[in-house]
């Protein structure tokens, strides 16, 4: 690398040294310099004049407009250096002295050299430039060359890159828009066709399926072979996925409406027709929506054979998968084990709780549910759900478990516990209620005051009176007054009648209005 730099430096040195020598020879010889000026014809602001020591005759004077000075007669300034030789020839008999004039000042040889060097630096004077000769040469040279354009484009659009890209985008849009409109029309017609096909398939399925359910008993259905199925349904259609999909939907639809034997028959047919394999494939899929579809099929058709596959999805990161797998386990498993719910890593949403509650409500009379397991969960949302379940299922037998939980309950759990005690009428928990009335958390306090109206004792009333005396905010004051009335009407009257406070008068009227009992 260094050697290359050195080599380049040497080349640059040689180039500039040669250039310097060329200029030195030009300015070293005044005759050569004059020839150069003659060749250039004009040089910016550089003119010449001749000085004569004796008076020229009138003919010359009229030609060159001589002016008499102290040191002789001076011709007028001439800018065209091409005339130098001819003028000199005319004046030769008078032994004329050539003078260089830069702007309006006479310059010596050195002055001229310095001026020309400056012009060379600025590019206004190029030694060796011959204007007349160049014009001719360029045309000649050009005429010898065959024209070749720099960019070999045939269209203007391709020569202008901005226009090119705009055109590309426009074309892209045009094509996309055309495709969109076409695909929209195709999609619409396909969709209509698909809907029509589904209707047709449904009609083809419903009749043989119904007759199968009514004409054959369970054992016969279990022994149905593939050829029997082909007799019932067209072979070509049965091979089509859409046909099987419609069949599954139809069987699930019938299964929801039917009871007893018919459910068993449908389940048996579901298996013998090979539809369970579709469900299994769905459960093993990588797509969450297919897995969920499989879970729904297991749930609806009570396919307990696939429970192991279902269990794999209880802690899935996908909300819908884990939610549906939980619901399926609760519904299908003969021995419901709530361990999967207790060990849930993810928070339990209200949507999941709603689904689980529906199933638990349905199965809790027939299956042994160990709901108290949920109180021990490390997941706060599961514990909260456990408390709600006690309230919603009316499981008074689990109140002891709740008391244990209440000892280390969070504020959110305390509110849920208070509501549960209120709903179940748990008078024995009055100490917990009274403790909550004194809570620093206003939400816990409000919930406790509300419950105290139903379950409170004398101590509760005392606490309510104390709080009321502190003039709390509107909402709490309303609850305090309502609970006070429920616990002891006389105390309520004593504290709210004949009041000057407009707010208390309004609240009293509100509480006493029968149309506003729960508002």
């Amino acid at each position: 690398m260094m050697r290359r730099v050195q080599l380049l430096s040497a080349l640059f040195f040689l180039f500039f040294a040669a250039k310097g020598q060329e200029l030195d020879s030009l300015f070293g010889d005044s005759l050569q310099l004059q020839q150069e000026l003659i060749r250039q014809q004009t040089v910016a602001n550089l003119s010449f004049q001749f000085r004569l020591l004796e008076e020229p005759d009138s003919g010359l004077d009229s030609l060159f407009h001589f002016q008499q000075t102290d040191s002789g007669w001076v011709s007028e300034k001439e800018l065209n250096w091409a005339k130098l030789d001819s003028v000199y020839g005319i004046l030769a008999d008078y032994n004329p002295r050539l003078e260089y004039v830069i702007y309006q000042e006479i310059a010596g040889q050195n002055g001229l050299k310095n001026y020309l060097k400056t012009l060379i630096r600025t590019g206004d004077f190029v030694p060796g430039y011959y204007p007349d000769a160049n014009t001719v040469d360029l045309v000649l040279e050009a005429s010898k060359d065959v024209f070749q354009p720099l960019h070999e484009y045939k269209l203007r659009i391709l020569a202008d890159y901005k226009l090119f890209w705009v055109t590309v985008i426009v074309l892209f849009f045009l094509i996309t828009a055309a495709l969109m409109i076409t695909s929209m029309l195709i999609f619409k017609s396909r969709r209509n066709k698909r809907e029509q096909l589904k209707k047709e398939y449904d009609e083809l399925i419903i009749e043989p399926l119904t007759s199968l359910l009514f004409e054959k008993d369970l054992e016969e259905i279990k022994q149905i072979t593939k050829s029997d199925i082909i007799d019932l349904f067209p072979e070509k259609l049965f091979a089509k996925p859409l046909f099987k999909q419609v069949m599954i939907e139809r069987i699930i639809g019938l299964n929801k409406k039917m009871k007893g034997d018919f459910k068993d028959k449908l389940k048996a047919f579901y298996k013998t027709a090979g539809l369970m394999e579709i469900t299994r494939r769905n459960l093993e899929s990588n797509r969450w929506d297919l897995i969920t579809t499989g879970l729904v099929q297991v749930n609806e058709m009570d396919l307990s054979e696939l429970l192991q596959e279902v269990k794999k999805h209880t802690n899935s990161s996908n909300f819908h998968v884990r939610s549906q797998s939980g619901a399926t386990l609760l519904n299908v498993s003969s021995t419901v084990n709530l361990d999967f719910l207790r060990d849930q890593k993810y928070p339990l949403s209200e949507w999941q709780q709603l689904n689980y509650l529906r199933i638990i409500k349905f199965v809790h009379n027939t299956k042994s549910l160990e709901l108290d397991k949920l109180f021990a969960s490390e997941n706060p949302s599961v514990r909260l759900f456990g408390i709600k379940l006690v309230r919603m299922l009316g499981r008074l037998d689990l109140l002891a478990g709740l008391r244990e939980l209440s000892e280390k309950a969070s504020d959110e759990e305390k509110i849920e516990l208070l509501e549960t005690y209120g709903t179940t009428g748990a008078h024995m928990e009055v100490d917990f209620i009274n403790a909550c009335i004194q809570s620093a958390n206003p939400e816990v306090q409000l919930a406790a005051v509300k419950v105290a109206g139903q379950l409170g004792d004398e101590r509760s009333l005392q606490l309510i009176i104390e709080l009321f005396a502190q003039n709390p905010d509107f909402e709490l004051k309303k609850s305090l007054m309502r609970s006070m009335k429920l616990l002891d009407s006389e105390t309520f009257d004593r504290y709210t009648q004949d009041q000057y406070s407009e707010e208390i008068i309004q609240l009293r009227a509100h509480i006493l209005d029968p149309l506003l009992t729960h508002v």
Binding site: M184, D289, E350, Q353, L354, L507, L515, V519
Partner: protein
């Protein structure tokens, strides 16, 4: 010097318009992709949702439906009956008679056997005076509450309803809207599904009921409106709801929930001070303020969107009425963005401040002005002889095709998801509207938007002088004072 400056500005504007054009193309492509993904996911999720359980489940949240009414005597009873017949277990209907000058209140009292109660009205959010709270002595109408108050505008009426509401969720609607029977069950679902962040509000799709058959509060036969303006709004609503809001919902960037149909968390609405009655864009302003509140509290939250067609309304088919509506929308947007300008490009507000707010500023608030500038720029180019017809028509074609593409995409969504307009003639008519819209209807929309800007500058429908106490920070109040010059 001036010559140089003039040409320099021409160059700068040229570059800016070029960036804006290509930016628009890029952004709308992103919106199309995001909305497609969201629609796909929504449809998949919907397959597994059983909404029947919510109706009776004790776990489902309670909903207070608040419907302000002003001079609605013609349909108020029918509308109230329609709301009372919604399929849901835990809900109340609060109709706020906002100082009607006709017999709206009397009609309600007579039809629902209402009695004035001793309700202790506590104006947690400041409102105009409440004259009385009515409830029915007939238990069949136990869900109905009617508030009679002094006139204060829609936002003020909604605030009165919020003060009286006793349920966990608020459904703020226009009283003349037609709601599907299962609208509440579908709208509460996002509130119930989320576990790791709080859903603060849920918006729904507004469908156009003009020319449709309605039976028992539900649209039974869909037809596109007869007029060009009506049909244009069908396309516009598809674009806004099925594309725009779906896409913004995907990235949790929604800034607007339609005032005609929106669900909110009551505790949060109260925490931010309710609706702001001094703006005509109270629906957008509330959502922006709620989001701002959550961002400032550093709490995880989401504004969700349900693309099911659950609410229908009649749109104006008269040009004068439509122009007033668009003018009002524009003023509402300007007022909201102006009031909360602190959010714009502020990294503290994350995606909401950096992207959503900026998008609304450029593509909603400034769009008419930018279009006007574009026209002026083209004229200047023509005058100075620097106009390139090839570029002009190329860019015009590009933007025209983009508009075409977006509109077609939104119709495609409708066809995929709901397929409500089954008649092929309707589809062909909509395609025709798409083709003519950029030349026939869009210029009018731009003009109405510009009028909105002008009216805002002239102080029509501005903030007014009263500053409500709902705003929490002193800076907000200062901002409003700057606007009003108070």
């Amino acid at each position: 010097m001036y010559n140089f400056l003039f040409y320099f500005l021409i160059e700068v504007f040229g570059v800016l318009f070029m960036i804006l054009s290509f930016g628009t193309v890029l952004i709308y492509f992103i919106i199309m992709v995001l909305s497609a993904l969201e629609m796909r996911d929504f449809r998949r999720k919907n397959r597994f949702a059983d909404y029947q359980d919510i109706i009776t489940s004790p776990i489902a949240p309670g909903v207070s439906i608040i419907a302000p009414a002003f001079n609605e005597q013609a349909n108020i009873v029918q509308n109230a009956q329609s709301l009372l017949s919604l399929h849901y277990g835990k809900f109340e209907v609060i109709i706020v008679n906002d100082g009607s000058k006709d017999s709206t209140l009397q009609q309600l009292v007579d039809s629902f056997e209402l009695v004035k109660t001793a309700f202790a009205y506590h104006p947690e959010i400041e409102t105009q005076a409440v004259r009385g709270v009515y409830r029915s002595s007939n238990t069949s109408f136990r869900r109905l509450i009617v508030i009679d108050k002094e006139n204060g505008g829609k936002a003020d009426a909604l605030n009165a309803g919020i003060n009286v509401a006793s349920m966990e969720l608020l459904a703020c609607i226009d009283v003349d809207c037609i709601l599907a029977n299962d609208s509440i069950t579908r709208m509460v679902r996002p509130f119930m599904e989320e576990t790791n962040r709080k859903v603060i509000a849920v918006g729904g799709v507004i469908g156009i009921a003009n020319n449709c058959d309605v039976k028992d509060g539900t649209v039974t036969q869909y037809r596109i409106p007869e007029s060009t303006l009506g049909r244009f709004q069908v396309i516009e609503y598809f674009r806004a709801f099925l594309m725009g809001r779906m896409a913004w919902s995907r990235v949790n960037g929604l800034m607007l929930i339609s005032g005609a149909f929106g669900f909110f968390k009551k505790d949060l609405v109260k925490a931010v001070g309710g609706y702001f009655p001094k703006t005509v864009g109270e629906d957008m302003e509330l959502v922006v303020r709620m989001r701002r509140y959550m961002e400032e509290k550093n709490q995880k939250y989401r504004v969700a969107f349900v693309p099911d067609p659950l609410c229908w309304t009649e749109v104006p088919e008269d040009e004068a009425v439509l122009s007033r509506q668009r003018n009002r929308w524009m003023r509402g947007t300007i007022e909201t963005l102006q009031l909360h300008r602190k959010i714009g490009l502020n990294p503290r507000y994350g995606f909401f401040g950096m992207i959503s707010f900026s998008f609304w500023t450029i593509y909603e608030k400034l769009a008419p002005i930018l279009e006007l500038l574009g026209i002026a720029y083209t004229l200047v180019l023509v005058i100075i002889g620097d106009f390139s017809a090839v570029y002009f028509f190329a860019l015009l074609t590009m933007i025209y095709l983009l508009s075409l593409l977006i509109s077609v995409f939104s119709i495609l969504y409708e066809q995929i998801s709901y397929n409500n307009y089954k008649d092929k003639k309707d589809l062909r008519r909509l395609i025709w509207i798409i083709l003519i819209e950029p030349f026939v209807l869009h210029p009018k929309v731009v003009f109405w938007g510009l009028q909105g800007h002008l009216d805002f500058i002239m102080g029509k429908g501005g903030w007014g002088k009263m500053i409500r106490t709902g705003f929490k920070s002193a800076e907000d109040k200062k901002n409003i004072q700057t606007q009003t010059g108070a």
